[in-house]
Symmetry: none
Subunit: 205 residues, 4 copies
């Protein structure tokens, strides 16, 4: 019956954006479970009826927001990679990327915590995160491939996944949960772990 509107007109696009913005703030503020559609519509200055003409249901809204957010996260992590000669990856390069990840988590830690949680119980959310992970892992493999000549022999596919997991989970620990250990110390050890994992001992002789 009532199909979801695909906004084409200027006003429509803006309304939809208002809803997304309102939801994003409320999610961060009160948690996803603690936010109901009426509130979102109210905060967006829109009727609940409008809400449901722009989004099939609450879940759809969340997925859209999440997808959008992860896109921005991805860009933020891999930005400025040009500064590094890709096939000369060293401690600094690794640290640079790790720092980017940590910074990306600062954009909206609460929202991220909320959605990451759902990943384990909601297949749709998980799918979005999987897509994101695939992109990340692909990037990592690309780095590994570019530095193949300087690297230990390893199962590249598995290694990339392992590295991704390590970085992501340490970022989670640092940003989302605690314990309140100084971030720098975690970044240092993480960098060191990945560096020593990947690269042959420099010192020959």
């Amino acid at each position: 019956m009532s199909s979801v509107r695909t906004p084409k007109q200027q006003r429509s696009i803006q309304t939809k954006h208002l809803i997304v913005k309102a939801a994003f703030h409320l999610y961060a503020q009160k948690g996803i479970h603690g936010t109901n559609s009426k509130e979102i519509a109210e905060k967006a200055g829109v009727s609940i009826g409008s809400f449901y003409s722009y989004f099939k249901n609450k879940k759809t809204l969340l997925l859209e927001i999440l997808e959008d957010f992860l896109d921005r996260t991805y860009l933020s992590i891999w930005k400025d990679m040009g500064n590094f000669t890709l096939n000369e990856l060293g401690r600094d390069g690794i640290r640079f990327i790790i720092n980017n990840v940590f910074e990306a988590y600062d954009l909206a830690p609460t929202f991220l915590r909320q959605t990451h949680a759902l990943r384990y119980s909601d297949p749709d959310i998980n799918r979005v995160y999987e897509r994101e992970r695939n992109r990340e892992v692909t990037q990592i493999r690309f780095l590994l491939e570019n530095n193949k000549h300087r690297m230990r022999a390893l199962d590249q596919e598995a290694a990339a996944l392992v590295i991704h997991n390590a970085v992501e989970s340490v970022a989670h620990t640092a940003k989302l949960i605690g314990p309140k250990m100084e971030e720098k110390r975690l970044v240092n050890e993480l960098t060191e772990m990945i560096y020593s994992f990947l690269l042959r001992e420099d010192t020959p002789q």
Copy 2:
């Protein structure tokens, strides 16, 4: 007011156990959020009144189950450590522990996924997990300490946390989420990463 019944009689103990068992299954089957108290009682073959005389509320039940489960997990991970000389930790020892972790996740992956999710949105659940993590990290530091002489200089506290995160998150990926990469490959690379992180190159000269 009406306090929670502490089972002393045989019948009581059994009833409480029935409830726990039913809840555990339903949680795994339909998700924690998707399971309501009535269902649990029904599946346990017990009245809803009984349910609430054994557990103050739904949450209490979950916490009790989780705490119990993590205790068993912990024991299962660190069992049989006696087989290794603690101060001779090598690839095999690392792999052994990692395998134990992976196996522990097999006990009830769905339940684990569910509760781990809640960690990010429920402070009580998080507290239980934090307690668990502290135990794990302490164990890891104990291992590092014992192998100090053969090890790179590192920030032990941070390193232990980083290692714990890496192992746990790879186990999650393998067991709880996918992608379905052969587990062995993940274990291999993970082992390698940790090994090369911790230990000085054996091969001198």
Copy 3:
């Protein structure tokens, strides 16, 4: 969170009124404690969801009804006072007011009985009744003040409260509880008691 709807549209106003009406009847019929929200909604021909969008909770509904009712009672008691020259208060004036009180209690004796009961156990209800009593006592003091010159010396503040209590409680007895003594006899003696309390013996010389 979800705030209570303030009816603006015609339909809203009517729905809210339907709920109030239904509640009022059920309260009188089955007692306030004996009436649940579902019943009220049903009798109003409205969904339970509607009920809770107009009233924050059961209690709020009761308070609103009570406040409204006591307002009407107050007006009904002190109506037509213009017929009496205020500074010529005599037996007839006293009897007139007493009769008004008795009549006011006829409007909804059962509802009144129910709420008056709660006064002793519910601070919110009591607050509403206190506000009402203050209005009444103020009116009585106003009468006393106007007839000061013809009156015994008395502690006006205390006297007004004592009189108010006497009238209210006799009305209660007559209307709400029994025993079934002819009302007129109670009114007569009550009038006499107040009259002789207030006014100096006419018999001069």
Copy 4:
């Protein structure tokens, strides 16, 4: 089936008394509605099963306690009347009785408030209170009768009821609800009102 036990043995009597005592305290402490049978049994150091072998149900217990309490109240109000020559009732005698009533309300004001509330919604409670009122009114009529010769002509039956209401309701106001006006002032005016109502002007000279 399971009939209620009528305690004859010493132990039984004591057990029943323990329950009554526990209930009385809890009622005063947490309100009648706020006290459940399990609590009562616990506080009495008795099993819930025992509770129900001594009292048919919660209501029965309450009625028994109330009846007992009103008996004690009655005795307390009319004690020491011998100090007054009954047929010489004057301001002092009236004040004495009023003071007794006020004091009686001090015995257990919270319990009294609770039960008095129920009077309006529970016919059984009301019946007990009615019986009590009849006793009181009878006593008042007895006093009036004894002082007939010094008294205005009045409808004795109605007058006694009116007086009873006045005293009881002022005591309620003073003890159970507020406003916090000094009690003495209320007693003074109440005494005066009743005195001037009852007795002919002492007509001096």
